[in-house]
Symmetry: D2
Subunit: 342 residues, 4 copies
């Protein structure tokens, strides 16, 4: 059993904790949280040990009258590996503690690439994680881009990829963030950081990304324009390849009625997924068009969930004996990821 | 076993079908739908028989290549009772068919009160439903108002209730509806229809409602101002009474961190509720203030889910032998409604 | 000529500067700003002298290559009175400087009432401002409530006022603020600060306010419930009184098509108002209902503009010789506020 | 004097009427409207003759007690040319009437290209309009794309243009339209209609567009990726060319603080533009990047205003003697379009 600690219990940490609990070869040591609230109440109800991030947090747990199993450092000591799901740039401060205690750790994509020796996407570079003390699971947008660009590269040879990312501006529970009625952009950075971040995993072709923030809370929406070397590429070849790509789900606007990201989330709710999470990259099948040797399509990504299976696979890639295929299969089964229904 | 058909398979119908399936004393005959789409795909996956609303629909199911078990009329013939969850004002047209076939039926709150002999809220008038051929389960806003006003009336004697309802303008999957950045109101109707609709269930005190539509998709938000006869009323008496009221959940903005409706929905996701549904009226405990003999508080209602337990209880109230307490207990257990955790 | 300095050049400051410039008896000394940007560019184009808030700001103006006439302190020295339109709680820090330099000052409603000897609304207490060194113009919500409640009190005797305020969560250019899809509330404070703030101007009856933040950028929306002493009150008496109330505009949802706050803003654009500003309290005429001795209606307020005429009148009330009627007439004429057209 | 009638008085019609009134060589015959409301009230205040679209409309004007100068047909008879600003696909029905009366007409971009002999953008094909009985001013998105692509083509030779358009889902006063919290897309159409529509004006290179609808009410946001023949292209050459392009405004996110479309609209309000209209294509200067021979940048377009100068120029191109340069200069001066300030 791999003993896993989860440091940080917000969007990613909550989901990783549940996913770790669902693995037969892993044991959840506990979760660390900065303060008590309804999320902590439910963590305790699920039987998770809750640790405080620091002494101040421990006191607030006491005042709240809520069980607290110690400090996050205590939790780390009891574990083989830590999944660090603290906010952006807190992870880098935690790294010293993990090193000092001689523990392996996984960081999230909000950290800079150089925090770890490897930027990780299971289907791209699972094997390389073995032996690494620190691994960084890349962000939601980078993960989904790596999945599809790696697949297209395998079959058609990617020459250049361009993507416009319409980013949801806030997670569903981030009620302080806007905008309410505007598009926010960072024009000084074309390409945005997403393209270069893909290159930390897939270094062999340029990826130029342009990013907008829009007033939605569900899913980033990617508009892809991918030039490939194979001039014989056509719509059905692309469809065939993506259909076989793991952790990718097709939807169809016409036949199935997926006219918007709202329908995709509604579909996740119908599927009965916990928290209506979608771990899959969602590609509109009827958007796929190959015009000359340029491939166009729309893809959506559930920013809360897509990296969860990657975190689980990263744990095994670093600590276990399973092959990529074995690990991905175990992870997918435990999370209910199956071959796409539609 | 009560054989139940569900006519209409959108927001309410989908949830009623699942809830009927979860009852030991009920059998889901099937669901009727106007057209094939991802919702129908998943209904079939769940093992539900899907019927077409009409011949045109049947042909579209055939073209889609999807199993269709007949027309909605066929489904009704196989059932003891129909839950009509078709869009507003379609129910009234269906009523003739139900009558002709001699079937009992439950209509939703979007229909006019006179469609049925009784407007129903389980904890207010369960017993009156027995013997009725047709019953109307009142709308989400009316249901939640009836729950709390009935409770306050029992303990303190309601003299007059006023409520301002900030209505979510669209359900999460209704992507065509706005507004995007405005408040929509119907000034010509103060009181809005909600107050008089409460009086179809609780006729003994005036309820004056003012309604706004705002750009959100989750939960209506009620601001209540209730004058009571008992001049000794105070905050803690109100809290005590509401704590004992069935299908009511307290949240707290301070201790528990419920600062917005976004937190309430997030909480439902953490609870693992299917589709993150909340069947309970959600009252902010720390908002409850009794100033003289006037009670003020905030309440939120999940417009997709709150009437689901009421539909189940209405079936039993009309067709079964169980008492109100027995039925509500059976329903609540099957849906995971427990005494509020927080 | 009254020499007026405007400290702070965001939502309120920009408008006050323009309004001061439009008065025959006032002279705009200049405006102070923390940093150079497009707003400063246009201020200079209008011929306003721009001062930096501090040395750091002065350097950033220099780096930008933009004319800067000195520091805000220099500006204050050149003036008879300062309108402080700095962000909430900065005004209190500036007060010491104004005092030291022996200058009069007007603060905005974001400051605590005790910053000044008087909380001001022109039509309620203009005369009281004379002789005050410091006056506080109350906030947008308080201003509009004072206007209508004062009017109703004059005619019918207000016994108790209750109001639910659905607040726009951000100004149109505040792109960082949310929520995007939620209602944010502060349940621990019923009444919200608005009711007690009205009592700083109108102390003779209780005002109980409940406040929500909603995802809009234009106009706060008030739902009022006002109990009056005069039991003979009826709809048309209320309409007659409000029609004669200064700085109040009627709209009608039926005849004129005002179905939403979006129509009100559209109307302001059609009127050709600068920045589509509405200085008037906007009351839906067809929402006015008197039920027994309780008056119900909807009112909207343009949070960016409503306090502008009040600031101008406060200047005259403190520094000039004009009567209330004279000052309000001068102000209204200069801003294009006329008797309501509709 | 060219006698101009404006048929339709919503987003475009209202602005065209004002713009026609501001031209020295044109006379506004009147405007036609389907029903009376606040927009009609203000049209009358401005001194415009208001005509009813049909007999039913005329009766509703009478019931409203509002002056009505006749039917739209009467208005057309009094004019030399009609600007048809009726909703999409109504224009095609009106065309028969215009033909029958022997009148020239200008249609808007919501109509199909074949409604007129020419799709028009002033700076691309002004001269071709002479002699045409019917001209179609292309839509807002097509207009802005034509302006910049024509300019880039002149200097660098466009090989292929790709654009992702994040469309505002509703105009500010369209309070019924959503989505509220979703991205709506039409995956079945890549390219969306915008690219081919550009080719009705600029036929010599492919334009592949992908379109999304997002929950905003102000400005469409274009992300452009343009491959050019000139391999020596670089950032500053592109900036130089676009700086000289008519009806194009640069903004800068760093120096000037334009971080979002909200700032652009705020800027228009500061400029004192009527209705805060921006007739210019807005390009973020600091977004312009030439990577190899591919040019990337962000552009925003005020969907309500950008086609207004094009309509005025189209009138002159069809009916007058002025050259393109003369007409554009007259139009720009009348509307306050100057060389970009920033």
């Amino acid at each position: 059993m791999i003993r896993v600690a989860v440091n940080g219990y917000n969007v990613i940490g909550r989901r990783v904790a549940d996913a770790v609990s669902a693995q037969k070869d892993m044991e959840l040591v506990g979760v660390a949280k900065t303060r008590p609230d309804y999320k902590a109440v439910i963590a305790l109800k699920k039987g998770y040990k809750v640790f405080a991030a620091d002494e101040k947090g421990r006191r607030s747990f006491q005042e709240f009258g809520m069980a607290c199993s110690g400090l996050s450092r205590d939790m780390v000591e009891l574990s083989d590996i830590v999944v660090d799901a603290t906010p952006d740039e807190v992870g880098v401060a935690n790294k010293a503690m993990y090193s000092e205690l001689g523990k392996n750790a996984i960081f999230q994509g909000g950290e800079e690439p150089d925090i770890a020796g490897l930027s990780f996407v299971a289907q791209c570079n699972y094997e390389k994680a073995r032996g690494h003390k620190f691994v960084r699971v890349v962000s939601c947008n980078t993960t989904t881009l790596c999945r599809v660009l790696n697949a297209l590269d395998q079959s058609f040879g990617v020459e250049k990829a361009r993507v416009v990312i319409a980013r949801r501006a806030a997670d569903p529970d981030e009620f302080k963030k806007g905008p309410i009625d505007a598009v926010v952009l960072d024009p000084a950075t074309i390409p945005s950081h997403h393209g270069p971040d893909v290159n930390t995993v897939l270094p062999h072709f340029p990826v130029i990304s342009m990013a907008l923030k829009i007033p939605t809370t569900h899913m980033h929406l990617h508009s892809l324009i991918v030039t490939v070397k194979d001039k014989s590429v056509n719509d059905s070849k692309v469809i065939d390849k993506l259909r076989k790509t793991p952790r990718l789900m097709f939807v169809d606007s016409g036949k199935d009625g997926f006219k918007s990201t709202a329908n995709v989330i509604d579909y996740a709710r119908e599927l009965g997924r916990p928290r209506n999470d979608l771990y899959e990259s969602v590609v509109w099948k009827d958007s796929i068009k190959a015009i000359d040797n340029e491939i166009y399509f729309f893809m959506a990504v559930d920013q809360e969930a897509i990296v969860i299976p990657e975190n689980i696979d990263a744990i095994r890639a670093m600590m276990g004996k399973e092959s990529r295929e074995q690990s991905m299969k175990m992870t997918d089964k435990s999370l209910g990821i199956t071959a796409p229904a539609l």
